[in-house]
Symmetry: C2
Subunit: 335 residues, 2 copies
C-alpha cells in the first residue's frame, strides 16, 4: 500500500522511534536528523496513518453527528458550527442523517461507537432511553443540540423555546395586535412543539388577551405544507385574525404562499412572524420577521462542550442560547 513509518526510518537510517518523535514534535533528536527525516518524508510522500494512531491513543479525532431529516438550512447551519469547532480542535465529523421514524438511529449509534468516535452530537431528536443507555454503556461523551432531555443527565445546547415563543407573541402584541393566531407545529413534540405553544399562551394571558382553541392550529409537522394547509384552517376557525405566529419559518413561508393565493396582503392585512431565521427568511416576499436562533454558534458550542469533556472528563453545564427578534417586513404595526 502506501509508505509506513518503517519505510521512512529505513530510508533515513534512523529508528522508527525517532521518526515518530519528529512527527509528534517531541524532544529527543538533533536538528540534523530532523531535516534528514523530513526530507525523506517529503520525497516519499509519506502520510502518517491515523488509524494506527487511533488504535494506540484511543482518540480518533472524529466526532459523530446525528440529525433527523430537517429543513436543510437549519441542518447546514448547525453542522457548519459543529464542523468549525471540530476543525479548530483538529477533528473531523461523521454525519448521520436518521430517518424521522428513528429506527435508523440505533444503527447509527452503534456504527459510531464501533468506529470509536470521541464523542457524539445528538441533534434535534428526542433522546430515548435506549439510546442513552447504549451510549452510556459505551462511555462515549454525548451532547444534545437543539433538543434536551428531561430524564437523563446529558448536557444540551438550545434556545429556550418557551421563552422564544413568548417573545414572538409579545412582539405581535406590542405591535398592537390582539387577534393573534398560531400555527403550532406538532404539539406532541415535547421539545419544540409543546413549549412554543405554551409560550404563546402565556404571552397572551399576561396581556389579558383571550386565547382559546380557535387561536391555534396544530399541524402535524413544521414544514411548508403545514403552513399552506394551516392558514385556511386558522382563518376558518378564527376569521378576525390579524397576526400569526408560525412555529417555524417553513410554516411561515407556507402561510405567505397561502395568503398570496387567497389575495390576502402581508403585512397589510395579515402580519406573520416565523421561528428559526433560516437563510430563506430574508428571501421571502415580503422578507420574514422571525425569531432568530444563533444556529452556527449553537453547533459550535455543542462541539466545544464535547471537547471540554475530553479534556476535563467532567460534564459541563448546559447552555441556553439567546434568541432574538429579527425584524423584517412581514409584521405591520396596527393602528
Amino acid at each position: 500500500m502506501s509508505y509506513t513509518i518503517k519505510d521512512v526510518a529505513k530510508e533515513a537510517n534512523v529508528s522508527i522511534a525517532t521518526v515518530s518523535r519528529i512527527l509528534n514534535g517531541q524532544a529527543g533528536y538533533s536538528e540534523k536528523t530532523k531535516i534528514k527525516v523530513m526530507k525523506v518524508i517529503e520525497e516519499l510522500g509519506y502520510s502518517p496513518n491515523a488509524v494506527a494512531r487511533g488504535l494506540i491513543n484511543k482518540r480518533t479525532h472524529t466526532i459523530g453527528v446525528l440529525f433527523p431529516k430537517l429543513s436543510s438550512s437549519l441542518v447546514t447551519d448547525l453542522l457548519d458550527g459543529i464542523e468549525k469547532a471540530a476543525n479548530d480542535n483538529g477533528s473531523s465529523v461523521i454525519v448521520c442523517h436518521t430517518e424521522s421514524n428513528g429506527k435508523k438511529t440505533m444503527n447509527y449509534l452503534q456504527l459510531l461507537i464501533e468506529k470509536r468516535v470521541d464523542g457524539i452530537v445528538f441533534a434535534s431528536e428526542v433522546l430515548k432511553e435506549e439510546y442513552y443507555q447504549y451510549v452510556k454503556k459505551a462511555k462515549v461523551p454525548i451532547v444534545l443540540l437543539s433538543t434536551e432531555s428531561y430524564a437523563f443527565p446529558v448536557p444540551y445546547v438550545k434556545v429556550n423555546d418557551f421563552h422564544a415563543a413568548y417573545t414572538a407573541a409579545k412582539y405581535l402584541i406590542d405591535k398592537g395586535h390582539t387577534e393573534i393566531g398560531m400555527i403550532s407545529g406538532n404539539k406532541e413534540d415535547i421539545v419544540a412543539g409543546k413549549p412554543r405553544i405554551d409560550g404563546f399562551r402565556k404571552a397572551m394571558a399576561d396581556s389579558r388577551i383571550v386565547c382559546e382553541e380557535r387561536n391555534i392550529v396544530n399541524s402535524s409537522g413544521f414544514g411548508f405544507r403545514d403552513g399552506i394547509v394551516g392558514l385556511p384552517k386558522l382563518i376558518e376557525q378564527f376569521p378576525s385574525v390579524t397576526a400569526i405566529f408560525a412555529a417555524s419559518d417553513e410554516i411561515a413561508m407556507g402561510v405567505l404562499s397561502s395568503a398570496y393565493q387567497q389575495g390576502i396582503k402581508v403585512p397589510e392585512e395579515l402580519s406573520v412572524i416565523g421561528f428559526d431565521n433560516l437563510d430563506l427568511a430574508e428571501m421571502t416576499i415580503p422578507p420574514l420577521t422571525t425569531i432568530g436562533q444563533p444556529l452556527v454558534k449553537m453547533g459550535e458550542v455543542a462541539a466545544q462542550i464535547l471537547f471540554k469533556i475530553f479534556e476535563t472528563g467532567e460534564i459541563p453545564e448546559s447552555r441556553i442560547m439567546p434568541h432574538k427578534v429579527v425584524e423584517r417586513l412581514s409584521v405591520k404595526e396596527r393602528a
Copy 2:
C-alpha cells in the same frame, strides 16, 4: 476502556480466533460455541473496534466528502444521496466544508488521507492540479460531483450544464418570448458559469434571436444578492425584456424579490426560470419554474462509483445525469 475481543474470549472460554470467526460469519465453530459466545457479547455489551479492524483490513468503511460553501439545500440533497449510498454499502461519511477560497481544501484532503478514507467525493469545486496529484499519489479513489475535470482522468457525475441552459432558454422561446435576458452567475466559473452562458447563447442563435451583450448580466456569484442586484441592471441595459433565465434558483429568488419591490408582476409582466430546483423553488411566490437536477440521485451515483472502484479497481465511466424542466408558475406564455 471498553471490552475487547480478549475479554469476550476469556469469558466464553474460547480463543480470540473463534470469537473473531463468529463475529465475521466465517466457518469454523459449532453452533454451541456460537451461542455461548454471542451470549457473552450480549452480556458484556461488547462492541468490536472498527479502528483495529481498519488497521488490518486496510478498509475504514468511511468516505470523505469535500464541499465548498454552497446553497444549503443543494449541499443537503447531494449529501443525502451520498449518505444513502454509503449506508447501503456499510460505510459512513466524513464531511468537510471547504472555504470558497480553496486554501482549506488541501488541508482537508490531507486529513482525509491520513484517516485512510476509502475514497473521496469531491463536489462542486474545480479539481486543481495540486489536489489531483496529491490524491493520486495517495492512491485514494476519487470522484467528482457536480463538477468535472478537463485535465485529469477522474470520473464525474453531473448534468450537462450547456445542454441544461439550452433547455431553459428554449423553454422560454417556446413560450413565445423573444426578448430574453440572462443573469448568469460567474462567467469565470468554467464548470457552472461559462457552459450555462454558452448554452443560453446557442439556444438563442438556433432560434435566430439576436443575443448581444445587453441580454446578459454577469454577476459575481450564484446567490440571492446577485439576483437582487442583477435585475435592475438587466432592465436598465435591456428594457424590453419579458423573460429571464437565472443561472441558479437563488438568483431567481433575488429576481423575484427585486421585481416585487419594483412592482413588476411575475409572471404577468416578467417570466422567470431558474436552475437547480432547490427545495425552496416550490415555496416562492409565485412557485418557481426551473431546471431540475436529480441532486439526491447524483450524490448516490457518485458514491456508488466509489464503491465500484473499490470492488473492481477500475475507473468506471462518468455519468451525465438528466435534467428536466420543472414547470411551476413563474413563466407565462406570451400571446
